[in-house]
Amino acid sequence: MLIANSIVARDLTLALRRRSRVLQPLIFTLICVSLFPLALGAEVNMLTRIAPGVFWVIALLSTQLTLENLFQSDYEDGCLEQWMLVPYPLPLLIATKVLAHWLISALPLIFMAPLIGVLLGMSAPVISALMITLLLGTPVLSLVGAIGAALTVTQRRGGVLLSLLVLPLYIPVLIFATTALEQAAAGLSYAPHLYLLGALAMLALTLAPLAAAAALRITLE
């Protein structure tokens, strides 16, 4: 547990020292969201209808952007090689690394969701549903993304390849989250979709660190 704490603390400190890295994905999200009304017209009804989908697609893309850095700097300074040697299970180390990544990249996005919801004309219940789906869905994105990041860590320009590997795997999350939001917008219960998202999160939490650990062992050998 001690090592988990210290990994998270180290990554958070690093993130705080380089705030621009944390802020850039948020600004990216904000800019992307504001492009949609400009491209599609500012008619409120239409915006309200497409808002959940737009926001979720952008959330996928911005997670995707930050994933490239998940193992990159640790790979460059040789930390990852040390990870292979320490007497702790590698999947555990990866899980804490992903937790730190989630705290840095996804949590701010969740806090920013109400602001974007207002920009796109979402109603209050939809905004709260949006935050819940983000809370359940973004861990899956980070965890599954860690597998892709582990597979591409040795690539110089792995970003495009990473998106090719990971985005198809994100589709179930996207579908369940946006259907939940549609239900919320129609005033129906969206609990079933939340259960499915939760199930996906549990599955990813149990299997993804193992797969990512195996992938890291292969790419670094």
């Binding site: 599954v144 597979l151 591409t152 390849l161 795997l169 179930p172 579908i175 797969a211 992938a215």
Partner: protein, 246 residues
């Protein structure tokens, strides 16, 4: 049985064995596909609703089956490559990927050719079409990752992990997309009980399915032999072969 398999997995034995089996597989594939095309295009009666345009099904459905089957072969070979590090399994997985991607592409093309007269559009965002498209993306990602890693052996093991993650995800993707939207007609052959397809149409379909499968194995062996030679180019059996050929 296990011993025989183990001996077969050694590259020179496999190379010779594949060379001997290849003509039979190719011949069988050609025969069955010709028979199936004749049965499907000439003998089978037109459909009472869809007329003659349903006949594209004899290509579409077998290639859709193949697209999934080949991904499963890749995942299975991936497990073998990861656990026992057998070279043959690595070669089979990597030789299968382009064939699987081609079958997936063929499924999408024939599906959209069929969709134009039936649904009035080349492409609809129907559940099965969409999950087939996602399968194509998975194949492309697999091939992309493979070509990005220069060392063949670690590429094989990295892609094996990707194939495993993909095979866990395929059912999830399939069902999520299914709930999302559906327009495609339901399954008519694999559903429980008697198939709701007339025997005169079922026969060419099965002929084509088996023919496609043989064709897959044949082209897999061609590609695998070629890759085997490339990977083993420094070994003595390859140089012996080359000397013999010269």
């Amino acid at each position: 049985m296990f011993n025989a398999l183990h001996r077969l997995s050694s590259p020179p034995t496999f190379f010779a064995f594949a060379g001997r089996v290849l003509p039979w597989l190719m011949g069988g594939a050609l025969l069955l596909i010709t028979l199936g095309v004749y049965q499907g295009l000439v003998v089978a009666p037109p459909d009472y609703q869809q007329g003659d345009s349903y006949r594209i099904m004899f290509v579409h459905v077998p290639s859709a089956w193949m697209s999934l089957f080949i991904y499963m072969v890749m995942a299975g070979a991936g497990v073998i490559a990861l656990v026992w590090r057998i070279k043959l399994a690595e070669v089979i997985a990597s030789a299968s990927a382009p064939i699987g991607a081609s079958f997936t592409f063929l499924t999408l093309v024939t599906g959209s050719l069929w969709g134009k007269p039936m649904w009035g559009a080349w492409w609809v965002w129907d559940a099965r079409l969409t999950s087939e498209l996602i399968l194509l993306f998975l194949y492309l990602g697999y091939m992309g990752l493979e070509s990005a890693i220069p060392d063949k052996r670690s590429a094989a093991r990295a892609t094996a992990i990707l194939a495993l993650v993909g095979s866990v995800n395929i059912p999830i993707i399939h069902f999520s997309v299914e709930w999302w939207n559906t327009l495609h007609q339901g399954a008519t052959v694999t559903k429980l009980g008697a198939p709701s397809i007339h025997p005169s149409m079922l026969l060419p379909l099965l002929l084509m399915a088996v023919g496609f499968k043989l064709f897959y194995f044949a082209s897999l062996l061609v590609r695998a032999r070629c890759q085997m030679l490339e990977r083993e180019q420094r070994s003595s059996w390859v140089s012996a072969l080359v000397k013999e050929a010269i």
